[in-house]
Symmetry: C2
Subunit: 385 residues, 2 copies
C-alpha cells in the first residue's frame, strides 16, 4: 500500500502492469490495492498506457487533488511550501524570523502563510503537514523537548495544535532529520540507505539515516554532535561545557573568530569588510578565502579539521556509505570539504573509508522543506484505510 503510493509519488504515472512488475505484486493483489486507493481518493486512473504487446494496461497516478504543507523552521527563518501528491511545489514562502519569539507568534505566522496559499486557490484542504524545528523533538509525541535555542517551545503541543487547525495528520521532526530525508528524496543521497547528513550552520547537527530510515534515538536527540568535545581547553559553549565542536567551529564561532582577525589586523580582507558593515559572517570568510586571504583560508581549514575529527570517529562507529555536508557553512565550499575529507580518510580505518563519498548537499536551502513534504506525504499514506 505504502509502497504503491510512494512509487506513484516519486516516479509519476505508470501502467498497472509495470507497477506490478516493479513492486513484485501479483495482478489480483495489485488490482485490489489500487481499487482501495482509488476509493480512498489517493490514486486515480490516467488513461491507457502504450501497448506492451498484449492487452493495453491503464495508467494510474497519485491523485492530483492531494495537497501537503511542508514547513521548515530555522533559528532565523520560516520556509513554507504547499506541494501536490508528486511533491511538486505549488506555493513557496520564505521569510526571516526569530525562533526565540516563541511558538505562538511563529506558528501563527505559519498559519497566515498557509491561509495565503489557500486564498490564492493553491489548496482547498490539506492532507497532511510536515514541520521541522531547530531542536530535539519527541517524534512520538510531536513536541520539541528541551530545545536549547527555542525558549518557550519545550513540550509545546505543535502536532496537536496544527492537526486541530488543519484537520489532518501532522508530523513534527528535528530540522536536521528533515534535511536528511529531503536529501535522500531529491538530492545527492538519492536511494542511499545508510548515510550521515551533517548540517553546519549557526550550530552543528547530524541527521542519521540507517537501514533506509531516520534514526532518532531513544529521546529524539540522536545526532546532536555539536556538543561533542573537540578541545578541552577551547571556548565555553552555550551548553555550559568547554570546547564543544560548535563552540569551536560553526556560524557563530566563525563570526567571532573573523571579528577578532579583522580587529587585530591579522586579516586585511576581513578588516576591509568590517569597515563596510556592522559585523562579519561566514559569507565574508568565504569571500576572503576566495580572494586568497591567508587567515580566512586558515579559519576554514581549522574548522574543517575539527569537523573531520568528529566525523572520522562517527565513521568508525557507524560505518555509513556516504556523508553529506549541508547547512549555511557549506557555502565555504571546497576548502572546507577538502579538509574534512582529508581528516576522515586519514583517521578512519580503510575498510570503512574504501568507498565513502564525502559530498556537499545538492538541495542546500531546500533540503528541509523537501524532507518535510516527504514526511507529510508518508503520514497521509499511512492513514489510508
Amino acid at each position: 500500500m505504502l509502497s504503491i503510493l510512494r512509487a506513484l509519488r516519486d516516479d509519476g504515472a505508470v501502467s498497472r502492469a509495470e507497477l506490478g512488475d516493479r513492486l513484485g505484486l501479483t495482478r489480483p493483489r495489485l488490482t485490489g490495492e489500487i481499487e482501495r486507493l482509488i476509493r480512498a481518493g489517493f490514486v486515480t486512473e490516467a488513461g491507457m498506457a502504450a501497448s506492451r504487446g498484449g492487452r493495453r494496461s491503464t495508467l494510474v497516478e497519485i491523485h492530483p487533488r492531494l495537497r501537503f504543507a511542508a514547513v521548515d523552521l530555522g533559528a532565523g527563518s520560516i520556509d513554507v511550501e504547499v506541494v501536490n501528491g508528486r511533491l511538486e511545489t505549488l506555493a513557496a514562502y520564505r521569510e526571516a524570523t526569530d525562533i526565540r519569539q516563541g511558538p505562538k507568534p511563529i506558528l501563527h505566522r505559519v498559519g497566515e502563510l498557509l491561509a495565503k496559499a489557500r486564498a490564492e486557490g493553491v489548496y482547498d484542504r490539506l492532507d497532511a503537514v510536515g514541520i521541522g524545528v531547530p531542536g530535539p523533538v519527541s517524534f512520538r509525541d510531536g513536541v520539541p523537548v528541551s530545545p536549547p535555542i527555542m525558549p518557550g517551545w519545550d513540550r509545546y503541543p505543535v502536532r496537536e495544535l496544527l492537526a486541530r487547525e488543519h484537520g489532518c495528520p501532522v508530523v513534527v521532526d528535528n530540522d536536521v532529520n528533515i534535511m536528511a530525508i529531503g536529501e535522500r528524496h531529491g538530492g545527492v543521497a538519492r536511494s542511499v540507505d545508510d548515510f550521515l547528513f551533517v548540517k553546519i550552520g549557526t550550530g552543528i547537527g547530524c541527521g542519521i539515516h540507517l537501514s533506509g530510515g531516520v534514526y532518532r534515538g531513544v529521546d529524539g536527540c540522536a545526532g546532536d554532535i555539536g556538543h561533542i568535545q573537540v578541545d578541552a581547553g577551547g571556548p565555553t559553549c552555550s551548553c555550559g561545557n568547554t570546547g564543544c565542536l560548535e563552540a569551536v567551529f560553526s556560524g557563530a564561532a566563525l563570526a567571532r573568530d573573523a571579528l577578532a582577525a579583522a580587529r587585530s589586523g591579522a586579516s586585511p580582507a576581513l578588516a576591509e569588510r568590517l569597515g563596510r558593515s556592522a559585523g562579519l559572517t561566514a559569507r565574508d570568510v568565504a569571500d576572503g578565502a576566495a580572494e586568497g586571504d591567508v587567515v580566512c583560508i586558515k579559519l576554514i581549514r581549522e574548522g574543517g579539521r575539527r569537523v573531520g575529527g568528529v566525523l572520522a570517529a562517527l565513521v568508525s562507529f557507524a560505518n555509513p556509505s556516504m556523508i553529506v555536508i549541508g547547512g549555511g557553512l557549506a557555502q565555504l565550499g571546497h576548502v572546507l570539504l577538502a579538509e574534512i575529507r582529508s581528516v576522515v580518510y586519514r583517521r578512519s580505518l580503510p575498510l570503512a573509508t574504501g568507498n565513502l563519498p564525502v559530498v556537499l548537499s545538492e538541495l542546500s536551502g531546500r533540503a528541509g522543506v523537501t524532507g518535510a513534504a516527504v514526511l507529510a506525504s508518508d503520514a497521509a499514506f499511512e492513514q489510508v484505510p
Copy 2:
C-alpha cells in the same frame, strides 16, 4: 512464526491459549502456525495446561531434539557450546589458543570439540551454528573482512565451510556483536532495544543494538571505536595512526603502562608483582588498585576518562538507552565504571543522559557464546518452511 519460536525458546512451555494472547494471534491463525511448526519438527506438544476456566488448552514447547552450536573465537581463546532449543547449555569447552594460527587449525579444533560433544551423545545432528570472530565480518557473505589481528582469515569462507561440515545454517558475526546479542538475551540489557555494548579487552570495540537489532554498518565494521583518536600526541597504534583509544587504553596498553610503572619504581605494588612473574596484566593493575596503590588507581582512572570521552561523543550521536561495559578490562570494576560514568554524564547533554544507565556486563565471559547461540537459533527458525 519467528515470534512463536522465539517465545518458546525464551520463555519455555506455554499453553496455546496464553501464547495466542501474548502474541496477539487469533486462535485459527495460531493453530495453523503451530501445526506447521510441529510438522517441521521445531515444536512439540507437552501435555495439558492447568484450566483457566473453560476447555483446557494443550501446552506447546520448543522441540527437545533441537541442537545449536555456539562458538566464540577470541584473540586467545576458543569457546564452544552445544545448547538445546531453550538455549540451555548441554556441553561447554573453553581453551586457550592463538587466532593468528590462521583459520584451518582453529576451525579444525572447533570441529574436534564439536565431535567430542557428539561422541558423548550430546547431539546427533546440529540445526544451526553461530560463530563470532574477533574482527570485522561481512555478515551477508559470512566471511571475515580485513581483520587486523587475524592474519590468514581475510575473506576465508567460514560460513560455507562450516555449513558443508555440519549440513545446517551457519551465521558468522563479529565477537562484539554476539556479546551484545548475548547480553540482550540473558544479561543486563534484557529486552532493551537501543544500547551500546562496549568491550574493553586486548582491543576495544562496540556492539551497536538499535531498534531491537544489531546494526553492522555498510561494510560490517560499525562499532570499531578502538581506533577513534583521543590523543593526537599519543602512542602509535597497531593500525599505524597515533593516539587511538585502544593504543592509549586497552589490555595491551595497560600492560605496557603497568610495566613502565613497575620498572620505574613509581608503583610499589606493580614492582612487587613483576618480581614474582614474567610480565604484568590488567589483573595485576586491578589487584594493585584494590590494595590502594596510587599509580594503579591513576592508570584505571585515566583509562576510564579516555573511554568516557569517546562514549560521551557516541551518546550525543546515538542517544542510546543503556551502555554496557564488558570484556576483560571490565574486571577493573567500579573504579573504571565510576570514571566512565562521570565523564559521560558531564560531557553529554542532559536530555540524552537523563535516564542512561552505564553498567557492567552481567554475563562477562559467557556473553559471546550466549549471543552466538541466539544467532544460530534465529537462523534455524528463519528456515522453517
